[in-house]
Amino acid sequence: MKLGYQQATISFCMDLTAPDSPSFPVANLLVGEVDGRQVAGVAVIVPDSLDALSKAVLADTHQLIRKYVDEAFKSRLPKSPLSDVLARVYHSLRNSMHVSVIATPAEVEMEQPNQVGGTIINLLHDGLIKALTEAGFAVEPAPPVQPPAKQGWPDPASLELPPSFVWAPPSPDVALAATG
């Protein structure tokens, strides 16, 4: 069986008033389809070094993203691309949190249906590590050389990847499904 999916990176801008302000990844989102079923997952990281208000908001990211994704899947035409769902999230996050990268669609083969959840978690984990690495963070344990500290960024040593959150979004509304 084949999982078709598309991922997005959600980042956090440290200072919206500064054009050169750094942004760093705080979540990886995956939306996909397997055997006619819709799947989604999000992995979130909340850096300890952020201010308390930002951390309080970021702590609820799972629920916020799930709301946007579920709404998008419900209103999605059956044959429309998964990028339509990611576009809904993109347009909903316009301030400190924003969608910084939308990856190209991809597929992965699985032998058993019970591999779906684990496969999504692995993809989210890999996606978040890739985004953090590209942003200059050392995520692997005990790197021999730490990247240079960047003012205002989280301490790389504080980064711990939390468990991912995987769910099955709702199907399109009946009227929309009939148009497909």
């Binding site: 919206l16 201010d51 208000l53 309080a56 301030n95």
Partner: protein, 169 residues
Amino acid sequence: MYPRQFPWEQIKRFVQTGPPGTELIRERLPAAAAQGLAFDTWVGQTDHNDHPHNIIFGYVPNDDGTVPVADGDFVFLDFAMALGWHGTWAREGSKTLGIAPFPPAMDAAIDRAILGGILDRIENVSDDTISEIVHRIPDDYLVPEHRDVIAHGLRTRRGNVRALLARTS
């Protein structure tokens, strides 16, 4: 614009209670709600209901950590659906006022004393000030007949906001 901003959708769960660091949201809400309700009712803004993005909370994080937030406030965005948009203020339509729709949690938090002061300020905006502000918009973006409708509408409504809002207090 503030260094950090979150939309209503992301902060509305903190307007009654929340973890440390979210206090300023609750401190600023009563005044912001009063200011927003009075102004929106005056200008006929209809797009600040429980909208996820048109109300945001912006703030300056405090890097020295003595307090969670150095400064911040609510910001009201997107006034496209105001000032008689879609012709609703034409032919004296501006005389028909409705209370601006606001999120219920914001309505409930309004500071009535501050609201009275804001209404005083709205009622004391002079005709000249209204005319000067409305005429800042170039003809290419606001044709003269629409400009006149807006200026007339603001003058007409200026003295009627208080009575309308008094019915809800």
